[in-house]
Amino acid sequence: MSAAVPAHDSAHHDDHAHAHPTGLTRWLFTTNHKDIGTLYLFFALAMFFLGGSMALAMRAELFQPGLQYLNPEFFNSLTTVHGLVMVFGAIMPAWVGFANWLIPMQIGAADMAFPRMNNWSFWLVVPAAILLVASFFVPGGAAASGWTLYPPLIIQQGISIDMTILAVHILGASSIMGSINIITTILNLRAPGMTLMKMPLFVWTWLITAYLLIAVMPVLAGAVTMLLTDRHFGTSFFNAAGGGDPTMFMHIFWFFGHPEVYIMILPAFGVVSAIIPAFARKPLFGYASMVYATASIALLSFIVWGHHMFTVGMPAAGNLFFMYATMLIAVPTGVKIFNWIATMWQGSMTFETPMLFSIGFLCLFTIGGFSGLVLAVVPVDITLHNTYYVVAHFHYVLVSGALFALFAGAYFWLPKFTGNMYNESLGKLHFWLSVIGFNIAFFPQHFLGLAGMPRRIPDYALQFAEWNMWSSIGAFVFGFSQLLFLYNVIECIRSNRKAADNPWEGADTLEWTHLPSPAPYHTFETAPVVK
């Protein structure tokens, strides 16, 4: 991609022209997309460590059979809030952080389309997180029904459920505003010559993700509002005694929940599609087919929700429909995997940390995809439903999928964000400890699930002891190795290892070719002309 304006023109002349607030007010009132991106990323990192601590508490309890450290109610709350915090507090805000930083720079825009709404979107997620965390300290403890909030369990608990429902509402409002902002920015603020089919794939995947968010977040809001009225206003949407149906909640929840999986993974596809070509020093193989496949995955994600509920007693025809649809969604996903491999084929590859995490993503996400196909087969799922096999499957998709891509993206763009290079050896150590710890933690969970160990239990029968011990050891290695990432990020921000404007030989998007490192506070006030 090339542009008609000389590099760095329009990039940094305005840095000192007008002062912007400093200290706390800078972050509180900021409308700058980079500041808001940074806020989202640090918030997500904090939530990641919070959710991770909950996971380690659970793995400590599960290290041996019997009840050691946690009472069962608290264990259930940890399971629930770990899921909610990781999905809504860590992965999603982290992607929004990347979107804020990168989308304007990658399309040659000066900022997001609605900067004040952008500020509001971020500052809404903070009270939501506080509500979730505070719900641990109210009578009855935090929500304990699992992150899916299924009735009737969810109807029976105390005020923490209302806090969780309010948190979900606020997070949904924030996501919808963020999505409106992203769609408007991409469709209206692209630099001259930046046609849709010239946009970097990260921008494409986020455009499609934003549409998914707008489509499904109101559905979740509707579902939790019905829960709220069932709890407090005498309705019986999900109460069989009053003529309602608890399985209706599952249908509504998973109509949101399955596209939600793609909301978390599509931006990961975008990041990996930026990194693999850069380190293979080849253009992305099949750019157009990647865009098509992303759009297809998004459309198909609306018609597969029933595979989460094969065991609730749907008619055989319903089960068959969702089984076929689920298997077919693997086709465009498989095409993406082939395209990334074809991009690497005969490339001049080097293996810096972003590339390592991208290759880790590619291998391990594929395992998650395959175990998803196993679970798509109705008779198999009826056996494996609610076992640790499912836990293993979705952690392969969301940890080695979404999270590894987040790490890849963080290492890749840290030089642009901070102006400094991160410590490469430490980054590689972080990768290897993560990949080894992760696999020791989660691969044995396939065996546990196949052997019949149910998920969401604080105690288990003796025959599951050995693999649980290994899983806990792996989880602690994986968990504590994340401190290396934290150290590396802080050290990078404070270090003096100045990064080149484009430290990666093969990176060719506008933020690398037209902006210095670190990217100045205001960029592209005059839009570049893309040829």
Binding site: L196, A288, L300, Y324, V335
Partner: protein, 57 residues
């Protein structure tokens, strides 16, 4: 309009020839592709339902 459906069909598979793609990029409007995408998804659902009906008859 048929060209839009053809492009969407290949998008479900996730593959498109470079020559055909270049032609699409010149001739197809985004509105036509989106409309064809939604109609094709509905047709896809109906086809799956027909298959299910056939198997469970």
């Amino acid at each position: 309009m048929m060209d839009a459906f053809r492009a969407v069909f290949w998008s479900f598979f996730g593959v498109r020839k470079k020559k055909e793609y270049d032609k699409d990029a010149k001739t197809l409007s985004p509105q036509a592709v989106i409309a064809a995408g939604i109609v094709s998804t509905l047709l896809f659902v109906l086809a799956l339902l027909a298959l299910v009906k056939f198997i469970t008859r």
